[in-house]
């Protein structure tokens, strides 16, 4: 898995390109709702893009495939929803709470699973996430099949009314950008450098005195926290938190987004989320064919297109 990832990394001019892309991206984010694109759709897209970026931190930069990220996403949504709706905390605090709880879960899951590699790690995270799913099915505060409904969008510090969808949109955009920057910074930090070392040669890192497992757990925790942030934001946008968010299909979807966009690239997950969410939106008329199309894309990606869209572009540019 990491072979493709590593091929994508190049130096030099990449940083400048990144800045240009970032500026274009920012401009698109600001203008998009003003030119008539449906804000709810855009908000959904950003929530999932953040989710995919957070996920990619594990898959693309640590080389571990977590098949249980829906647990963090869904739990972030439930916690934020419950806090805002039942406890009446402010929207910002609710979202923050969702992210924190997801982060703590990430820490615990990480501690259990992190010593395993490859398939083992994937299966164990999947099973742990399924445990969370069943917990959510039973726990009273999630309201089982009903989910948490009618979560008020509330206000930002009593100043901005988030029921206005444009206000909500820019609020979500701010969260997305903040999350994205955290991912970016994490990758390009001393910690990120350490992760690269671990991905490239784990045994050597141990022999250099790095407590490798602790680094992986921290990466997993950051990834889980941001995933929780994405889920919590989604709950506020759609005003619901339901079992869909914790179901393993959700974990699969985020893998697909990352895979199709290009794992181990900064913008890949964003592009992937864009493709998948748009596709789901346009294919919505096709009923359960959506699942079939998703599955087909999955198979095609795995068989022939393992670098993903962004990965492929970068490889061509080189």
């Amino acid at each position: 898995m990491s072979e493709a990832v590593m091929n994508l990394r190049s130096r030099g001019g990449r940083r400048a390109t990144s800045w240009i892309l970032a500026a274009i991206g920012l401009a698109i984010i600001i203008v998009a709702p003003l030119i008539g694109l449906y804000p709810v759709f855009l908000m959904k897209l950003m929530c999932f893009a953040l989710f995919a970026c957070a996920f990619n931190l594990m898959l693309g930069y640590v080389g571990l495939l977590s098949f249980g990220h829906a647990a963090f996403f869904g739990m972030g949504a439930y916690v934020a929803g419950h806090a805002v709706k039942v406890w009446g905390v402010t929207t910002v605090l609710g979202i923050f709470g969702g992210a924190v709880v997801a982060g703590i879960m990430g820490l615990v899951f990480g501690a259990i699973a992190i010593r395993q590699k490859g398939i083992y790690f994937a299966m164990i995270t999947l099973a742990l996430a399924q445990m969370v799913y069943f917990f959510c099915l039973q726990a009273p505060f999630t309201h089982g099949e009903d989910g948490i409904q009618g979560i008020p969008r509330g206000t930002i510090l009593g100043l901005v009314d988030l029921r206005n969808s444009l206000a909500m949109y820019y609020f979500v955009a701010a969260i997305f950008l903040a999350g994205f920057l955290v991912v970016y910074r994490t990758i390009h930090s001393p910690f990120g450098q350490t992760l690269k070392g671990i991905r490239e040669n784990e045994a050597r890192m141990v022999s250099l005195g790095y407590p490798v497992a602790r680094f992986k757990v921290l990466a997993f925790t950051i990834s889980a926290t941001l995933t929780g942030l994405a889920g919590a934001t989604k709950a506020i946008v759609f005003q619901t938190a339901t079992l869909t968010d914790v179901h393993w299909h959700m974990s699969g979807e985020v893998v697909l987004m990352t895979l199709i966009g290009g794992m181990g690239t900064i913008f890949g997950p964003v592009v992937g989320a864009g493709i998948i969410i748009t596709l789901q939106n346009y294919l919505a008329t096709m009923g359960s064919w959506v699942t079939v199309v998703m599955g087909t894309i999955f198979v095609i990606c795995v068989l022939t297109f393992r670098r993903g869209v962004v990965g492929e572009i970068l490889a061509r540019l080189k």
């Binding site: 089982g144 099949e145 009903d146 409904q149 009618g150 759609f238 619901t240």
Partner: protein, 401 residues
């Protein structure tokens, strides 16, 4: 998610030429979204049949309104349902959302429609919360609810001597509500409830739940679930010899499609409460036969019939006031009694509940059944006033304020 835009050209578009004076109807078209389960365990009792019923209502209406019908599959998931509803309203300009079985989805849709002044008529959902705490001025509950079901079946079974109950309950809003309502009726009539077990929606294996029900020693096992869950539970109860063991099953919400799926061998003797039976009057037979022609001979469930009745009533009201604002049309609907093959002198109350007579029926034995879909003996008619929760008990803010 399934959003089937039906081409208007032949069926749903009525009175193209006379669409001149419709200033009040936004974009000149009334758009009706049929939102229900099209692939899951409630697909048979609502699903495509509800779309067909809505289309028939539009055709039969024949007035000078432009009407378009959309449909989608909410997969029994509240998040899917509410996001379709939101998108329909925001992007497609839908004026009425109809059907929405699965109480949890209906509650989620209720949030969206009441925020956006869109009319919402539920035929398929059962929970009474829709006309109590969660009521809305844009909402009408048409066909049945958990209260009506419990009054019918609960009372009848206790009166026949089934005075100790164990509930097998679908673990979501509808199941909880149905269980609570039935429990109240059972206890009011001198029976007692010895226990209950909650099962997830769409359960395939009921064996361990049935075992608990069996060991509880209750005389009656009340199935507070619906559709595929009910038929599965009944079938498996049959294979575990529960009825032979002396316990009685009570399907609190049974549809004619469930009986059809089970076959009379298994279903015979079940007591059910229903808002509609196709073979009751000439009018109902006439509708049902037309419906059957389009549905491979399937007879309509009460949900299908309710959808027809509701859409017809809605169109009448909308045409009357020449408006498609949610509250405006619903207010108008409340002023006119409902009189058709489905309801005689039905009345939409302030809380949004459409009250009409309900029927206590028993499933025929195979020998009694003389023709296809000849499944029910009507035991009793429950008058509208008794069948539904009295208005004074409603906690709906439209009533209490």
């Amino acid at each position: 998610m399934r959003l089937t835009k039906l081409a208007l050209a032949t069926t749903a578009l009525v009175g193209l030429a006379t669409g001149a004076a419709q200033a009040e109807i936004s974009d000149g078209v009334i758009k009706i979204g049929v939102l229900n389960d099209r692939s899951g365990l409630y697909a048979d009792l609502s699903g495509e049949g509800s779309v067909v019923a809505a289309r028939m209502a539009v055709e039969d209406f024949g007035g000078d309104l432009q009407v378009e019908i959309l449909s989608a599959d909410h997969q029994n998931k509240p998040d899917v349902g509410s996001s379709i509803a939101r998108q329909w309203i925001d992007q497609d300009g839908v004026d009425l959302i109809i059907d929405v079985p699965t109480s949890s989805v209906a509650l989620a849709v209720q949030q969206v429609t009441s925020d956006t002044d869109t009319a919402f008529i539920s035929s398929g959902a059962a929970t009474t919360a829709l006309t109590n705490d969660q009521c809305a001025p844009t909402f009408v509950h048409w066909t049945y609810d958990t209260y009506a079901l419990s009054v019918g079946t609960g009372k009848a079974v206790v009166e026949q001597g089934g005075d100790s109950w164990f509930f097998l309950t679908a673990d979501y809003a509808f199941g909880h509500q149905l269980e609570a309502d039935t429990k109240r009726v059972v206890e009011e009539n001198g029976g007692q409830v010895v226990g209950q077990v909650r099962h997830p929606l769409s359960t395939t294996d009921f064996s361990s739940f049935l075992l608990q029900a069996q060991s509880s020693g209750a005389k009656v096992i009340g199935l507070a679930n619906a559709g595929g869950d009910t038929t599965n539970a009944i079938k498996q109860a049959n294979s575990f010899g529960i009825v032979q063991g002396g316990q009685q099953l009570a399907a609190l919400l049974g549809f004619i499609t469930d009986v059809h799926a089970l076959g009379l061998d298994v279903a015979q003797g079940l007591t059910l409460t229903t808002g509609f039976y196709w073979d009751r009057t000439d009018e109902s037979r006439e509708f049902s036969e037309r419906f059957g022609e389009r549905m491979n001979g399937q007879m309509p469930t009460m949900v299908h019939a309710g959808v027809y009745s509701a859409v017809a009533h809605y169109l009448k009201a909308a045409a009357e006031i020449d408006d498609d604002g949610g509250k405006a049309v619903v207010d108008q609907m409340k002023t006119v009694p409902v009189n058709d093959f489905f309801a005689e002198n039905g009345e939409i109350r302030a809380d949004g509940r459409m009250i009409h007579d309900m029927y206590l029926v028993q499933v025929k034995t195979p020998e009694e059944s003389e023709k296809p879909w000849d499944y029910y003996n009507i035991l009793a008619t429950i008058p509208a006033a008794e069948a539904f929760q009295p208005l004074e008990q409603s906690t709906c803010s439209l009533v209490t304020n």
